[in-house]
Subunit: 127 residues, 2 copies
DNA sequence: GTTATTATAGATTCACAATATCTTTAATTA
DNA sequence: TAATTAAAGATATTGTGAATCTATAATAAC
């Protein structure tokens, strides 16, 4: 019952981009990695998922790096979590008790409260 | 970002106890394990945590087994989760950004919504 | 008391996924 | 062409949940 480190890395990297006006500038992963004091190649792997999901852009070559998209403020925390960790549900019931399983219903409701909260917050709220 | 199987096992074992009037009768782990089709020794380890936390009782020897306590209806799902998985927080921030870290605040709030929901449901809601 | 039954504890193994590193390749700029 | 940077692939490392096995302790029935 934990979020992944990768999600933590992603959120903090995004925060760095936001704080450094990276909607107009590009930031190489080296800079991000040393700022967070984590492995650059691993962080790169994480950020690539955000690129794939179209939440940030990346460009190779000199003066390249990662960059926020224009609409970055609207991206929700939920979006980031899903892009990194996937959509796996928090509670996987090993027992198939069918529709009426109250345990599953109950856990599902709790999880929905979490997800709803994550959906209600966006990157704008980090500023 | 998942609950443990152990919690799943525990909840379903409790449900079995509830459904079999185990507030007056004792149910050996063998019966529970075969009902859920899981390892008996492992399930025993899980249930022992509930015993330690005083949510159920156990007695050794012939005619022994696990039994609900009188006040079982008031036990919340949160209680069970904590007894099994511990109180570890869902989001462990690797970066110490101090009090003002908005990422942490935000994730904490989302997590609180989950926990509040788990606290608002009790074993009585499984009946 | 003896035997059978049951939970508990300890040690250990197993399996798998997250995390991390290394190396190569592709893209881009100067 | 040379330098810089992201992406991809392969592989290693690690941590830990899950599970098993064995031994011990407690209890009931006889």
């Amino acid at each position: 019952m934990k979020f992944s480190k990768a999600t933590d890395y992603a959120l903090h990297a995004l925060l760095y981009l936001i704080m450094h006006n990276a909607d107009t500038q590009r930031v190489p992963v080296q800079e991000l990695a040393s700022s967070l004091d984590v492995s650059a190649t691993y962080l790169s792997k994480v950020l690539t998922r955000l690129v794939k999901a179209n939440y940030i852009t990346a460009s190779s070559g000199a003066k390249g790096g990662y960059q926020l998209r224009k609409n970055w403020e609207a991206i929700t925390i939920y979006d980031i979590v899903v892009a990194i960790d996937g959509e796996q549900t928090l509670f996987e019931d090993s027992f198939d008790h069918g529709e009426g399983c109250k345990i599953q219903a109950l856990m599902q409701e709790a999880e929905n409260n979490l997800l709803h909260s994550l959906k209600s917050k966006s990157l704008k709220d980090l500023t």
